[in-house]
Amino acid sequence: MKPSLTRRQIASVLLIPAPVPLAAQPPNDLEQAQQDVAKNRDILAKYALPMAVEPAFQFKA
């Protein structure tokens, strides 16, 4: 029986890379960076400071 696929077509199917396991896929960088900003916000929010503590604007070491 004559094959319905050419050798080139078979090769192209066989050479499709296997799907990358989920854990190894690069993260969605923007989403991750946004989550980091939110995480930092949560960490900072836990620090209660007296009103008298001013920002380090006049920063002279």
């Binding site: 923007l30 900003v37 900072l44 400071l49 920063f59 002279k60």
Partner: protein, 476 residues
């Protein structure tokens, strides 16, 4: 003139200056030799952004004219140096390591370059850097328009960042010394990974006029060189008041080791967990020997722990908030997408979401952190800790994969997190090589109270008087 012997390229600045004064070779001969070396070896390490041959030779001829007439300007006179490519210099583009700024040209030198020029030092090259000095963050060593900067001790390893080319070029003997900059770790890390001596000055000591801003309240410029003494000599030239830098502390620095208190009158703070648990096992023998050396000096040694604050969150919020403002146009125009590193791009975009209240909260916690370090430095004069816990990572590996994780987890915080903490507090630090692990340099750091550079440098110089780790050089 016969070719200069290899040892010349690994001489300290004071040695080079002394040989120039003795007319063993002219400044032009020395400069030509360093320029040839930059062109020959620079590409091998991706360490160079631009070689300034024309400018350097013009300056070298001026210096020779000065030497001929016995006009001695400084200990740096005639010494070829390189500057991180975030410092403006006439004669070459200033790219900040980033494709969107590839064609950027300034018509005036940065203040530090002007000061070095006046002192007779010869600018030979702009040195490679991580794009935008690392921005909020980056994932790969290749986050630079010049590619991953490679470590002269092992070309499969990274040179460290973001002053990558400065570390690599000094280690490979391509420049007599270099200028780097640090927002959080960018002088200490490449110095440690490349085995050179680096100094992060107190915030405000060295003018940043003409330098790329990443974070106005965190950025510092400092020397990367072959010895602690070199760093002192260089800092003396580059420090000082500058009306063009709003953050200038208005103070001059004089390298005066003779006026530092005796070692027996000083107290060193350290934490054993840093040496025995957090450091990767291969590096521990070198760190242990260094700790023993400092014990032998007769200083009082006390164990301390870093004050407990969320340094990472505070630093990221301040750096992100300020970088988001500095690079607002880059981000909103979409040109940010031309950067090399996806994590850097994402971090800059996300920085636009940092709220005013978050930034102010971080800056308020920073005030508390500064006070906590003031209190700590009542008990100790300096803090001693490994500069990095590990050797340089592989250049191809993701940098956010995490480093060595001690197991079991140490009970003490040690002085872990001192790089972001000390940067938030504006404290000076010196980093110096103290041995090797798996054939790669490992380094120690000393951190002190503001404007205590002389004390830090004297300790490091004493170590370098009695050891020769800083004299080791890679086989190119």
């Amino acid at each position: 003139m016969a070719a200069l012997e290899d040892s010349v390229f690994f001489s300290t600045v004071t040695e080079l200056n002394a040989r120039l004064k003795k007319r063993e070779f002219s400044c032009e001969e020395l400069t030509r030799a360093f320029l040839d070396r930059l062109e020959q070896f620079g590409p091998r390490y991706n360490a160079v952004a631009a070689v300034l041959r024309e400018r350097a030779l013009r300056k070298a001829k001026d210096v020779d004219y000065d030497f001929k007439r016995q006009r001695h300007r400084s200990a740096l006179q005639g010494v070829p140096f390189g500057a991180k490519d975030l410092l403006a210099a006439v004669g070459a583009p200033t790219t900040w390591g980033a494709v969107p700024y590839a064609g950027q040209v300034f018509d005036a030198d940065a203040t530090v370059i002007k000061r070095l020029d006046k002192a007779g030092a010869v600018l030979t090259a702009k040195l490679a850097m991580v794009e935008l000095a690392g921005g909020p963050s980056y994932r790969y060593a290749a986050a630079s328009m010049t590619g991953a900067c490679l470590n002269p001790w092992d070309r499969t390893r990274w040179a460290g960042g973001s002053s990558s080319g400065s570390g690599s070029a000094v280690a490979a003997g391509l420049v007599g010394f270099a200028l780097g900059s640090e927002t959080s770790g960018s002088i200490l890390t490449p110095s440690a990974f490349c085995g050179v001596t680096g100094l992060r000055p107190t915030y405000g000591y060295v003018s940043r006029a003409g330098a790329m801003a990443l974070s106005w309240t965190l950025d510092k410029i400092g020397p990367m060189a072959r010895s602690a003494e070199d760093c002192g000599v260089i800092l003396q030239v580059i420090a000082g008041k500058d009306n063009d830098d709003p953050g200038s502390a208005g103070k001059s620095f004089f390298y005066a080791p003779q006026f530092v208190r005796k070692f027996s009158d000083l107290t060193i703070g350290y934490n054993l967990a840093d040496f025995e648990s957090y450091a990767e096992p291969a590096a521990r023998p070198a760190f242990a020997r260094t700790l023993e050396f400092f014990r032998s000096l007769g200083s009082k040694m006390i164990e301390v722990e870093i004050p407990s604050y969320p340094y990472g969150a505070v630093l990221s919020t301040i750096l992100g908030g300020e970088a988001g403002s500095v690079f607002e146009e880059l981000i909103t125009s979409g040109k940010v997408d031309r950067l090399a590193d996806a994590k850097q791009i994402a971090g800059l975009k996300a920085s636009q979401e940092i709220l005013a209240k978050d930034y102010l909260k971080a800056m308020r916690i920073r005030s508390v952190i500064q006070n906590a370090f003031r209190d700590l430095f009542v008990k100790v004069d300096v803090l001693l800790t490994p500069a990095r816990n590990t050797v340089a990572p592989k250049a191809a590996d993701p940098l956010d994969r995490g480093g060595y994780v001690p197991s079991p987890a140490p009970k003490s915080r040690g002085l872990q997190g001192l790089i972001p903490a000390a940067n938030l507090a504006g404290l000076p630090a010196v980093c110096f090589p103290c041995g090797f692990a798996d054939g790669l340099p490992v380094s120690m750091s000393l951190v002190g109270r503001p404007f205590s550079e002389n004390t830090l440098l004297v300790y490091a110089a004493e170590f370098q008087k009695q050891t020769d780790w800083h004299r080791q050089r890679p086989r190119l």
